[in-house]
Symmetry: C2
Subunit: 397 residues, 2 copies
């Protein structure tokens, strides 16, 4: 039974994924704990504290703010923080010195500083609202505003020590950064690239299962239906809502260029494209499923009739699902699809089978509904598989 088979294969996989996810979460928590303790040693050990003093606060702050779930995210935030601090600090120093050299009395000095705070603050905030900057450098710009402000107003106070102050804070942020990066990369690293890769692969399998389960449900007789729980399209919905997650993962993955499993310029953009196609496909499956659901009652009775070649439909569906699985596998192993020719030949055969179904089933109105749903479906699959083939060709082993 096709449907049973699909649930059997899907459930343990999901459980396994959940378990993996839980393990990773716990690893992450422990890593954060370790980093925090390491950086707290700056305070707790006397010789260290004599070196860094109260500024050790900045190292702790850096660790808390910077440590993210995946290595890529941590690196990205660290890079942003470093860049923001350096540019903000540098500019802040310049403005502070400028104000000191021009403003002869304190009031003029203060006014120049207030104006510069307003201008730089507003302008940088505007930058944060530009989508392309927001996507990758939001945090860096925020740190820029923060550092610039702190340095500029401190410059108005402690006339001489402004460079000193900046240097010490930078040093401490650097310590925090190094702790984060070391723990994140060398203690059970959690790669965003792996996560993106796995989630794309598992989406192929999920959709393949949904395709099988969906028609499987509709072609069942009424007896069967009552015995099994209703098939749900949650998978489709979760695939549909995966865009923002994909994008942030791809963003993080770009920060992991040397990560062994993937090459130096791994095509993450292509993953986003595949994700986009998968989302479109999920939309189609959802529509198809709803469509079949609407005409459910007659469908079950049709099974016994001679008009319909439901067997062909089912065979077709499992073939399509099978191709999807194969493609998912080929991405998983990062190999060319065994034979692109083979996939496209299978698809051609499927298309022919389909036209056969259509031509032999003109009698019943409702039947057409079903056939059309499948036709739409296969049509979209063609499109999807064409694109994935293109991808499979380009991704080297």
């Amino acid at each position: 039974e096709v449907h049973c088979l699909s649930t059997i294969t899907s459930n343990p996989r999901h459980k396994q994924m959940h378990r993996d996810q839980d393990t990773r979460k716990i690893i992450h928590c422990i890593k954060v704990g370790i980093s925090l303790v390491l950086v707290s040693l700056l305070y707790l050990l006397n010789p260290l504290f004599k070196q860094v003093g109260e500024n050790a606060m900045w190292a702790i702050m850096t660790v808390v703010v910077m440590f993210e779930f995946s290595a890529g995210a941590t690196l990205g935030k660290g890079f942003n923080r470093g860049l923001g601090t350096i540019i903000g600090g540098g500019l802040g120093c310049l403005v502070a010195l400028f104000a000191q050299s021009i403003g002869i009395h304190r009031v003029g000095n203060s006014i120049i500083i207030a104006v510069s705070v307003f201008i730089f603050g507003s302008f940088a905030t505007y930058l944060r609202l530009i989508p392309s900057i927001k996507k990758r450098y939001d945090y860096g710009v925020m740190i820029f505003i923060l550092t610039f402000n702190l340095v500029v107003v401190s410059g108005a106070r402690v006339n001489v020590k402004v460079w000193e102050l900046a240097r010490e804070r930078l040093l401490n942020i650097l310590i925090g950064f190094i702790v984060c990066v070391c723990v994140s990369l060398f203690v059970f690293p959690l790669w965003a690239s792996n996560e993106l890769h796995d989630s794309i692969v598992s989406r192929f399998l999920d959709l393949a299962n949904t395709i099988q389960g969906c028609l499987g449900e509709c072609t069942k007789t009424i007896d069967e239906k009552e015995n099994q729980p209703r098939f749900s399209f949650n998978v489709c919905n979760s695939v549909l809502n995966s865009k923002s997650k994909d994008e942030s993962l791809a963003n993080f993955a770009k920060w992991e260029p040397w990560h062994g499993k993937f090459g130096l310029s791994y095509p993450w953009g292509r993953y986003l494209k595949i994700g986009e196609i998968l989302r479109e496909m999920a939309a189609f499956i959802l529509a198809t499923g709803r469509c079949l659901e609407a005409s459910k009652e007659p469908m079950a009775t049709l099974r016994e009739s001679e008009w319909v070649h439901l067997e062909t439909c089912e065979a077709l569906e499992s073939k399509v699902a099978c191709i999807l699985r194969e493609l998912g596998d080929s991405i998983k192993k990062m190999m060319k699809c065994d034979a692109e020719g083979c996939v496209s030949e299978q698809l051609k055969a499927a298309r022919e089978d389909l036209s056969f179904i259509i031509s032999t089933s003109k009698m019943a109105q409702l039947e057409d509904a079903q056939v059309l749903a499948i036709a739409t479906f296969v049509f979209l699959l063609m499109e999807l598989i064409g694109k994935v083939e293109e991808l499979a060709k380009e991704v080297e082993e």
Copy 2:
């Protein structure tokens, strides 16, 4: 011409929306600038600086980190920051005092602190990974970790002043909080609730336009097609990807309970539900459109034939689009739909028209494809409108 009409009505609206959005961005930037200047005055004005001292840094930090685009987001972050600081600071003090009272020599003291840093840090990080907490309290938990750590390790150093230190920082964070909230709420406030409301309403209109444009495109003759640019389904895709934005807006909107236009317990959950239905509908429109596209060539020639009642289809489509617009309007004005009865009657009529089309167009295979697409479509619309009606009933004026 239906298609022309839809582009005419949609373009100026989009331009207007873009202009509004730009204005709001600039207002936001200026507000951030003002807040930064206000809080910098703590440093720049001598009498104030004497009161707060170096801790004014915390006020600046609070403003930079807390000031978000909408009033709700700012309040939410402020609340999180306040709560995190208080709980973290309180616990930190307790642990520091506990360590002091137990650890007789410095080493024991340090070990207790290091262990507590590890345990609280790991546990709080685990909390951050739980979806329901992540959604609303992520920032608060992060601040908790930060404050707890800083207080605990400072406690190991400056034995007496730990309460003093905590009190002063809290005071400065409070100043930053007050500045943020005042500027955010009283200087041209930007409400997340308004934004959510508007984006839902505009999605109704966008989808209505897409429905009209999509069939309008397909029923055109080939000549017409060459003269006009290809109709795109970008709207559907953007609606499909709106989930995370909606959720965060609804989250923020919950922080704006007294906001004049909306009541005290405005049903934001319902907005999310409508958003969900609209997304499902967009998936259907996308599928329908692709389906019509696939059978485009024959469709155009069918126009001249007698078999097809394309006029009826078109009329039906504009009726459905019209109902959608009406519903969008009723949400916009926050009134009950003029007559729910009216809407459902119109829908019933549409359904009858549809069955008429289906029954009179059995002859051609391709025709069925089109009819089925529309049938799917209307079927989904029914569902959508049923739910919206329910909503319209419940939302009081």
